[in-house]
């Protein structure tokens, strides 16, 4: 009796809206994978029960995730605050371990083989630990986030896994770790950081789009205009003039030297080419030093086949789509990786604009719901964690969908709860259900 009471008290305060949204999204995901794998002439029930196909595997993952979710809901919230740092250390260790025992799957050595043919990608799981660690760090009583030192420390906590994953050639996942800057912004990080970051991205894009000399002239023009507009303030203090000149100099320097340097020396040829092709440009791989170093022969020019096919599939959906299981592009397997990274393409083809719109709204609703949950927390730990969940999911969704619709170079991140893959599904399940556990105890002050 007491046990039952215990369970019902545990279930109390759980945000069922999020649970339902979670369930809906996972179901959509399994349907999408089924849609991709479906063959007219095969008996799908048989293959489904055989457990050999990806959709039945995903269903098994989902069942496993439900068990894990239940366990999480049954745990004590204090567990997470207590073990946050330890788990973070464990996560980093796992990521480092891939260098030793990692398994190479599609070009990135970031997988650890587990029993039963399943593989674990530590970088996926490490997001949870990082979110917990960041929450733990910011909720410490001695942390004063207005201080630069703690800001830098928080940044290091977030970016350490990112650095490791870049070393594993999983740069897409590394990008996701930048989502923690949104959290830090919420916790008091100067908006300047976000603005600077945004400006830097804008500058890179304009460098790609506009011819270098023209861009330099435009930048100079903007600088002169600002000086003209601020001529009265400049008269009062010369400092502003110097600041403007320094910014102008930095901008020109970046577009002239830093951006080409990044593309030619830091990024791999295929990455540069992807970025270029996202903006409709061709990247000349012979300029790329890293590719040139690795292979003697001229690097092959990769084209944007994936994105082109994905755009075709989505575009052919039209307003109402071709209907469930009727997508010709999906059935013809024209979009590569259409059960993982490009799963949105088959969804867009089958259900058209209406379906895609509804789907995105479900996501947005979930995100807003999480932010609402975040804002009702009493403890900083829970709030920071909730924002982390929202930001991570937002980054995943934004990167993935922008990639499939050709707005962003493909970084190779999964669509949360939809894409095929146990690691991804599991990590998002854990992320969300820890949040729900913390939220259920929102009256508690956790440190």
């Amino acid at each position: 009796m007491s046990n039952r009471n215990n369970i019902s008290s545990q279930a109390q305060g759980v945000d069922w809206t999020v649970v339902w949204l979670y369930a809906i999204l996972v179901s959509i995901g399994i349907l999408c994978i089924f849609m991709v794998e479906y063959r007219v002439d095969t008996n799908w029930l048989q293959t489904f029960l055989g457990g050999k196909t990806n959709y039945s595997k995903q269903l098994i993952f989902a069942g496993f995730c439900a068990v894990v979710a239940t366990f999480i809901l049954l745990t004590d919230s204090k567990l997470f605050t207590a073990f946050a740092n330890l788990m973070y250390a464990f996560g980093i260790l796992l990521m480092l371990a891939t260098f030793v025992i990692g398994k190479n799957i599609s070009g990135s050595k970031s997988w650890i083989p587990l029993v039963g043919g399943f593989n674990l990608q530590p970088v996926e799981v490490c997001k949870i630990f990082t979110a917990l660690a960041l929450a733990k760090f910011l909720s410490r009583q001695e942390t004063d986030f207005t201080k630069l030192k703690s800001q830098i420390l928080a940044g290091v906590i977030c970016l350490l896994p990112a650095v490791i994953s870049v070393a594993q050639h999983e740069s897409g996942m590394a990008l996701v770790y930048f989502s923690f800057f949104l959290v830090m912004f919420r916790e008091g990080l100067s908006p300047l950081v976000l603005i600077l970051g945004f400006s830097f991205v804008a500058l890179i894009i304009s460098t790609l789009l506009i011819e270098p000399n023209t861009l330099a002239i435009i930048l100079t023009g903007i600088a002169l205009l600002v000086i003209y507009l601020l001529r009265k303030s400049i008269k009062k203090s010369k400092g502003i003039l110097y600041l403007i000149l320094v910014i102008w100099f930095a901008c020109v320097g970046i577009q002239r030297f830093a951006v080409p340097f990044i593309f030619n020396n830091v990024l791999e040829c295929y990455q540069s080419a992807r970025v270029y092709s996202a903006f409709g440009k061709d990247y000349d791989c012979s300029l790329n030093k890293r590719s040139a170093k690795k292979t003697d022969k001229a690097p092959r020019k990769p084209d944007d086949y994936n994105v082109r096919q994905s755009k075709i599939a989505i575009g052919s959906g039209g307003l109402t789509g071709r209907g469930f299981l009727k997508g010709t592009q999906t059935r013809g397997k024209y979009v590569p990786e259409q059960h993982t990274d490009f799963i949105f393409a088959s969804l867009g083809e089958a259900f058209g604009f209406i379906g895609s719109f509804v789907f995105l709204m479900i996501y947005l609703f979930l995100l807003f719901r999480i932010i609402k949950i975040a804002e009702r927390q009493r403890s900083t730990f829970s709030r920071v964690y909730a924002y982390s969940v929202a930001s991570i999911m937002f980054f995943h969704i934004a990167f993935n969908i922008c990639m499939t619709i050709g707005l962003f170079p493909s970084p190779g991140v999964t669509l949360p709860l939809i894409s095929y893959g146990g690691s991804s599904l599991m990590s998002f399940t854990i992320l969300i259900f820890i949040l729900l556990r913390l939220d259920a105890d929102r009256q508690m002050v956790l440190r």
Binding site: F185, E187, R331, G332, Y334, S356, F357, F368, C402, L407
Partner: protein, 701 residues
């Protein structure tokens, strides 16, 4: 402090919303406003497959199918699935070596991709199909697929029926808007060509979904946009296949032609062109090579001599000269002309005549008296009322044109020649403006500039039989399901000859022609119990300045009352008209009228004329040249082979014996080889193929 930052939660929400708005904006752009993605998707996934209907079947007048479709099998392979194939046993079944196998697979992968089915060996022979069918389970990735091919069950009438061939670029250029594409087959000669529209049927289209490797996934939209193929219409001919068979048999080892027409309908009963070929020789996988063989043959077996070649009609033209002379009134039936051995009218001693004496019209026809018809022709041109040869010739021609001479008749076969009726302009060029009848007197006996095709000649016979009217000769009697393209309309118009010719004139000519068979030149070709009217022709001809053996002509119709068959026969460079063409014609006529040849003597005649060999001497020389060139090559090959053998393995007795005997063989072969023309139905065709194979094999060894 958290309270202070609460507004930032709002900002984050706004950031989320903005990014989602951007994504939705792009979705609107892609899904609602871009047409090109739909098109691109269709290009990706839609596979339009043209479904070829069966071509129409061609039946003879008795409803026997003489050109129909049969199923042939191709050996098909999907390279990606052809793993673990017992290559050695497959190769031994197909008579190829493993190097060839690997080369073919490599080529197919290069041409058609790794995962798509490609044809490994097209049009398998029957025994090869049987062997493969038993063993196909041993060869994963290989399968046998059906395909429809044309077949000629009687192996006759190759020229008439024609053949289909893969279209080439020039064909596609000429038939731009008719929906042909590369790889299609279309009729190239004969009825296959002239009735292509009817026979080809209507092609259908099936839409499939294909995957990224072009494998078919299933029908597109459950076949909503598919169109069914409509089979080609069947055609019924006036041709009698038994008659055609007999004609081809009689014409074996000769060069020439037979055309027989039903005078009542204009329907062609048989059209033989010798040498002929087995039309099945031009179907199947070896078509290209066989085609080249026939094309290079000096006897020009691909030429339809029934209408694709024109000849001087010789004495058979005398019937026309007589008709016009009688109509013009320059003579009547009782006019007599003396022949002292030559024509006296022009003082040149030409043309000569064989039977000396005085002839009236009937006897002049019966004995083919040159003097008589020279007189008639000269009188016709010299008529004072026309004031000069120019206009007199024009009058003569105005009669002749209504006989279908000098112009294309419009037979429903391609490449008909129009022959020639000389006009005064031609003679003004040669003889100047003051030319006169004696310049052109050889026209009187069909030896001058007058040229006719054999169909025209047969048609003239039909006109005489009908006493002045004819239907344009044609092969197709009816089209099943209606004549959609109005192809048969020209053959329903009754043509009349010049109305100045009264019936009595035809009767007079018929009398003469009946006398030809009864006691005249063609008396040996009389058919007991059948009144046949005929006219022989013996045409002198020269080639390269040397006199060649005469062309043998015969034109006839029978029976005289209610004529049922009109016929013309030519046998090039053979003998007098009465000796070759007339007997052949009589056999055809009897066969048609009685369905069989009566009496042992007449039956023996069939064999006699079948076995006669008349290959023109010039062709003989060409054939010998060609064969000696081939032999030279063979010998060289053999020598090399011998050397190789010696180098590699000296000990084997079996092998060394062979090359020694074979070079000795050729001197014996030419005698056999030369006179064997390709003849339908029987072994010669096969013999040629075997020879070729041997030759090819030696080349490849």
């Amino acid at each position: 402090m958290p309270v202070f930052n609460q507004s930032r939660g709002r900002i984050i929400q706004i950031i989320f919303a903005v990014v989602f708005l951007v994504m939705i904006g792009q979705l609107i752009n892609l899904q609602l406003f871009s047409v090109k993605y739909k098109l691109a998707a269709e290009n990706n996934a839609l596979l339009r497959k043209v479904i070829y209907p069966d071509r129409g079947i061609i039946f003879d007048r008795k409803g026997k199918a003489i050109l129909e479709n049969t199923i042939s099998y191709d050996l098909q392979v999907i390279p990606s699935e052809a793993k673990g194939v017992d290559t050695a046993s497959l190769c031994s079944l197909l008579n190829i070596d493993t190097a060839e196998y690997r080369k073919r697979i490599r080529d197919l992968i290069f041409k058609n991709g790794y995962v798509k089915p490609s044809i490994f060996e097209p049009l398998l022979t029957v025994e090869m199909f049987a062997r493969l069918n038993e063993n196909i389970y041993k060869f994963p990735g290989f399968s046998l697929t059906e395909r429809s091919v044309r077949t000629y069950p009687y192996s006759v009438a190759g020229h008439v029926l024609g053949y289909i061939r893969e279209v080439d670029t020039s064909f596609l250029r000429r038939h731009k808007d008719e929906g042909y594409q590369m790889g299609d087959y279309a009729g190239m000669t004969g009825l296959e060509r002239s009735y292509e529209k009817v026979l080809m049927g209507q092609r259908g289209v099936k839409n499939y979904i294909r995957d990224n490797k072009s494998r078919i996934q299933g029908p597109y939209e459950n076949g909503m946009y598919d169109t069914a193929a409509v089979a080609g219409k069947n055609i019924h001919l006036s041709l009698d296949v038994e008659l055609q068979k007999l004609g081809e048999k009689l014409m074996s080892n000769k060069v020439g032609s037979i055309v027989a027409i039903d005078p009542q309908t204009g329907g062609i009963l048989c059209m033989v062109s010798a040498p002929t070929y087995d039309p099945n020789y031009l179907t199947g996988s070896q078509q290209r090579r066989h085609f080249a063989d026939l094309l290079l043959d000096p006897r020009l077996p691909l030429n339809n001599r029934g209408l694709g070649t024109y000849y001087s009609p010789g004495s058979t033209f005398k019937t026309v000269v007589g008709l016009i002379g009688l109509s013009e009134g320059v003579i009547d039936e009782h006019t007599t002309v003396n022949c002292p051995g030559y024509f006296t009218g022009c003082g040149t001693g030409k043309p000569k005549c064989l039977d000396k004496g005085v002839f009236n019209f009937k006897d002049a026809v019966a004995h083919s008296d040159n003097s008589y018809f020279s007189t008639v022709y000269k009188r016709t041109l010299d008529q004072p009322r026309y004031r000069g040869a120019d206009s007199a010739l024009a009058v003569f021609n105005s009669y002749a044109y209504t006989f279908g001479l000098g112009r294309r008749l419009g037979v429903d076969l391609p490449s008909e020649k129009k022959g020639n009726l000389p006009v005064s302009a031609d003679y003004r060029k040669i003889f100047g403006p003051r030319w006169y009848s004696c310049n052109v007197i050889s026209n009187a006996i069909g030896q001058g500039e007058v040229n006719t095709t054999l169909v025209q000649l047969a048609n003239v016979m039909a006109i005489i039989a009908n006493k002045g009217w004819f239907y344009t000769p044609h092969l197709v009697d009816s089209i099943e399901g209606g004549d959609e393209y109005n192809l048969l309309d020209p053959y329903k118009i009754k043509h009349h000859t010049d109305n100045r010719i009264p019936d009595t004139v035809y009767s007079a000519v018929q009398d003469g022609m009946q006398a030809v068979v009864e006691y005249g030149t063609a008396v040996r070709s009389r058919i007991p119990g059948i009144i046949m009217c005929g006219k022989t022709g013996t045409v002198e001809n020269y080639a390269k300045g040397k006199k060649q053996p005469d062309h043998s002509f015969f034109g006839a119709f029978a029976p005289r009352d209610k004529p049922r068959i009109a016929i013309a026969v030519i046998c090039e460079n053979s003998d007098q008209g009465a000796r070759v063409a007339a007997p052949i014609a009589s056999l055809i006529v009897e066969k048609y009228l009685r369905d069989s040849i009566a009496g042992p003597a007449r039956k023996a005649m069939i064999e006699e004329y079948t076995n006669k060999v008349y290959i023109p001497p010039l062709m003989r020389i060409e054939i010998a040249k060609k064969d000696s060139l081939r032999r030279l090559k063979e010998n060289q090959q053999m020598l090399e082979q011998k050397l190789n053998k010696k180098e590699t393995d000296d000990a084997s007795d079996d092998d060394s014996a062979k090359p020694e005997t074979e070079p000795g063989n050729p001197p014996a072969t030419p005698a056999k080889k030369v006179p064997i023309p390709k003849k339908s139905g029987e072994t010669p065709t096969a013999a040629l193929t075997i020879e070729d194979r041997k030759y090819k094999k030696q080349l490849t060894k």
